[in-house]
């Protein structure tokens, strides 16, 4: 009745429903959403920059020591200035993208592999497997995220691989919980029953019927958590237990810049902006995905 005032039902009446695949739907919604499209472009540029960093600026400029070039403000020679060791900030920001992209993508991929497997197992099998997996996940929710990451990093020690593992180890629990409830709601559908009735095995049902239909919330979450992972890496490096000097991590650069906040503010400006723009791109894409795939999650996650 009153729904008419929203125009929603009317649109349903007018529009023809045609079958669209998940990825097509995602593309269609991204295409209409300008901020998300911009985010996508930034992400693609970022990945290219990370891959072709050596072609843009030589590595030495990012990690060497140039006593004559110390703390130069941004100018013609160093467009973003230099830091306290005379290293070119622009070079470090470019090379730093490698760290962020690697951590962001690999850590979430790692979390996805474990999380999807565990979530599917818990949601599909229920019973003991469900209880065990979910209680194990509960442990990860009991601690604040950053303290958990710190604890895992102290066990593993610093370094790129360990940052990836630490974030992945924390992420799996969130992904598993999300995927589990999604599997729960999908598997009661008639088409799953129908597949079972014609004799499809568990593996086939999971891969052909449940996975594609239960993925939506996980896709949204993953886009968001690539951003979270990049911030977490920066935070760990900032605290001194993530990437180690002279690695050009954006978080490390911010830690270095603290001593020069008033004398060389460009040292903190550019790496911070780099993190902000990168994470913002992922947030924009995640927002657009959520709006199109999972309207119920609006505002949440």
């Amino acid at each position: 009745m009153l729904k008419i005032s929203k125009g929603l039902h009317l649109r349903d009446m007018g529009a023809k429903t045609n079958e669209t695949s998940l990825w097509r739907e995602i593309w269609l919604s991204l295409r209409k959403n300008k901020p998300a499209l911009l985010g996508l472009v930034v992400i693609i540029v970022l990945v290219f920059v990370a891959i072709f960093a050596p072609l843009i600026v030589p590595c030495e400029e990012a990690i060497g020591f140039y006593p004559k070039e110390i703390l130069r403000p941004p100018g013609a020679q160093h467009i973003m200035g230099t830091d306290d060791l005379g290293r070119d900030i622009f070079a470090r920001v470019i090379w730093g993208s490698r760290v962020s992209v690697e951590v962001g993508i690999l850590a979430v991929a790692f979390g996805l592999v474990i999380g999807l497997f565990m979530g599917a197992l818990a949601g599909y099998k229920e019973g003991l497997a469900d209880t065990l997996i979910m209680r194990a996940a509960d442990i990860f929710f009991a601690f604040p995220y950053i303290l958990g990451a710190i604890a895992v990093m102290t066990v593993l020690g610093p370094g790129l691989e360990n940052v990836i593992i630490a974030i992945g180890v924390l992420e799996w629990a969130y992904i598993a919980r999300l995927f589990r409830s999604s599997v729960f709601s999908v598997k009661v559908n008639d088409y799953v029953e129908a597949a079972r009735a014609i004799g499809a095995g568990d593996g086939r049902i999971l891969l052909k019927h449940i996975f594609p239909n239960a993925m939506a919330p996980v896709i949204v979450y993953s886009a968001m958590s690539v951003g979270t992972a990049i911030i977490t890496e920066a935070a760990l490096s900032f605290l001194g237990i993530g990437m180690q000097p002279p690695s050009p991590s954006w978080g490390l650069m911010l830690a270095d810049s603290r001593a020069f906040m008033s004398s060389a503010p460009w040292m903190m400006c550019f790496p911070g902006l780099a993190i902000l723009i990168t994470v913002l791109s992922f947030v924009l894409v995640a927002d657009a995905l959520r709006d199109s795939l999972d309207p119920k999650l609006k505002g949440a996650v």
Partner: protein, 313 residues
Amino acid sequence: MFRYIAKRLLQVVPVVIGVTLIIFLLMFILPGDPARMLVQKGASPEVLQVIREKYGLNQPWYVQYGKYMWNLLHGDFGTSIRFKRPVLDIIKDYYPNSIRLALVALIIEAVAGIASGIISAVKRHSFLDVLVTISTTILVAMPVFWFAMLLQVSFGLKWDILPISGMGDGSWRYYVLPAIALASVNTAFTARIMRSSMLEVIDCNYIWVARAKGLSERKIILKHALKNALIPVITILGLDLGTLIGSAILTETVFSWPGIGRVIYLAILQRDVPVVMGCTLILVFIFILLNLIVDVSYTYLDPRIRLGDRRAV
């Protein structure tokens, strides 16, 4: 009501056992010998041995764990290996700082988040809505430590109107910047959730009924819509207080705030098991307590929800 609360509090026991066990095991698999951290480099094995015996570090983990739990039962949180002080004293010294900062941050979060969420939902698609949407999206993507540094540079160094480090004499001026930094991301999330919750509610039939009753738009929003829209937001706020206390470590680092996050962080790095244990346990208690408060406050906000005991409410 009291039976319900008692039942909920009893559920703390297994959680405490689980949490302590995990921390204990985690600290045992950590590389590094706590005894070695207490002495200077090159100390003789005899000295190390004495220290291990003094702190019971040479016993198997389950004996140490049993002893720890026995003492905990008697209200003894043990002694810090690093600071050689009772852990309870450390807790008393640092937790109030963290809780006070978190409360100020929570007030900022609640007021700014709820207000901007309401405005942006009610004035949908307006300039203000766009402004709120853009700024919350940026804040969500902002690394909190960078935001904290920007606050320091602008308010502290450039305009020199607020202190940027430590607690000083404990006046409110020292709280402003750390609390804003700490609240930033949460405020953005609260505003977004408030907005979508409000948007959902103002499309409900009872809002149209209220309009048809001839109520003013102001009363409809502030009475009929707000109380319904607040229900999901209250959960977030309640649980956020725990996060604000426990994950303030980055803000504490930037502002040299003597809070518990930094204490736990240093204790982890220095393998100071009793401190990690004690402080984390308090944190877990706070989390559980907040959960309980949120659940009880629900029954006041949403009459459809009843606690375990019906008669009591």
